[in-house]
Symmetry: D2
Subunit: 156 residues, 4 copies
């Protein structure tokens, strides 16, 4: 399952490296960190069953919308990533919550500032629907940041 | 949109009356209540945009699974309503949260005790997939119970 | 910290055994389980930092209310465990969420059915304020049930 | 109760105007908005029972910590606004959730970027403890932004 979700993310344009880079950027001001450690934490987040389920479900909805397999009015809501549609964010919450509520702040920040891969996912080019994926990727990054914060404290 | 979600629930086997009956059963021990008032509160819950989005999304996933339009392994997880799959419950949370956290307890109780229509939705007969729908209906009922509790206090 | 929260729960009338008994009762119909294993899972839940913070905070509020150190109108709301006060439940959510959303259903059920120690905590005798504690204990039990469900699957 | 929470916020250094200014700053790029309308939405958020309960509880904890009425180790955690203490954020969630999950992103952003009054609350000068208050104020602002987004759509 771990390999599967990594491969699904890759097919949707998101690499482990894309996420590790943002984790490093977010956390290196707080703790000593390098790219390899950041990458390790991203991988650990992706081992969690709840995270895998959120990824599978979010990508399935995005793909169904892309293939016009969903009825209106939901189809248009998904294709336009309607600002009042909050289901993508609540799905992402199931990822950030796993390492405690401290992930929430980083998630919200990433979702609004949209650095790196998050801007790309949000650019709505070429018929892609990433309504769920952008929130899921922000949530994985936020969860990895929380995991790092917790692990540094445990070792202190 | 209000009429649409009512009609979608109806097509999936859930009437306003099925829900009003359970709201009445849950809340009549706490406040003076009758069927018509319970029904009114259910309808008001269904006017909320966040609730409508959760209904549209949950039913869309159930239908896509029913029609085998979702890839494995998610397809089997959805068809079996896997006990470790918690995305259906987190979607339901977006409904119960609208009237405050007091809806949470009623939601959990309904989801476990499964009275009335909830038992029917959960019976997994005839190829139907109701993995999301049963949680959504429990959440609508729980939200209506919260709405009643709040409205009685405001009037006191 | 682990020993401290166990000792604080004990002082407020809640033993590890009280919780393990309910975990056993809730989960033994689903997986092979005995008292010692149930107890082990309760202890593991109490090792989590987020759980410890919720326990420390909830008990601190209950104690401050008991000692009349909180201003009105919050003091009366806490002493009466007002039905529309949902902050105790949202604090409990930070515990149940740690093992995924599947803990939510068990939490809601326990909070409503109030078996064993939960009924005692809720009896409001002798000037004790357990407004937060009863929800926290229900959440610990629900989290332990989720932990068991996840661990049995991983081993399957 | 509405007047009480406004007065309590004022005593802790937060005016309606401090919040309205940030609401305006956050939302004016999306919808036509002025200060008076922003202020009106902040006031409406403060009429919600769940919001009032979160404010009363958060300020009570901050004040109890300030007056050394809380035992260690929680007292130090609260005084230092420990980065791994997430209870303040989960309390804030009960506010942002009321207008749907779209409030989450704005909350996370405000909590990290800390514009205006949020920077002041976080400055930890003069023995004040604002561990809960800064998250609560960010949540009220985020909720008002969500309320505006919903109201503009309803009128469209």
């Amino acid at each position: 399952m771990h390999d599967l979700v990594i491969s699904m993310l890759q097919q949707r344009g998101v690499s482990l490296s894309d996420m590790a880079v943002l984790v490093l950027e977010m956390q290196q001001k707080y703790v000593p960190l390098n790219y390899d450690i950041a990458l390790e934490h991203v991988k650990k987040v992706l081992e969690k069953r709840e995270v895998q389920n959120a990824i599978l479900t979010g990508i399935a909805i995005d793909q169904a919308a892309e293939a016009d397999l969903i009825d209106e009015p939901l189809l248009s809501i998904l294709k336009n990533d309607d600002a009042l549609y909050g289901i993508d964010e609540i799905l992402a919450l199931s990822i950030t919550n796993i390492y405690g509520t401290i992930g929430l702040t980083n998630f919200g920040y990433l979702d609004k500032a949209k650095p790196g891969i998050l801007a790309e996912l949000n650019s709505k080019t070429s018929g892609k629907v990433n309504t769920f994926l952008d929130d899921i990727v922000a949530a994985i990054i936020a969860a990895a940041c929380s995991r790092i914060a917790h692990s540094y404290e445990s070792n202190a």
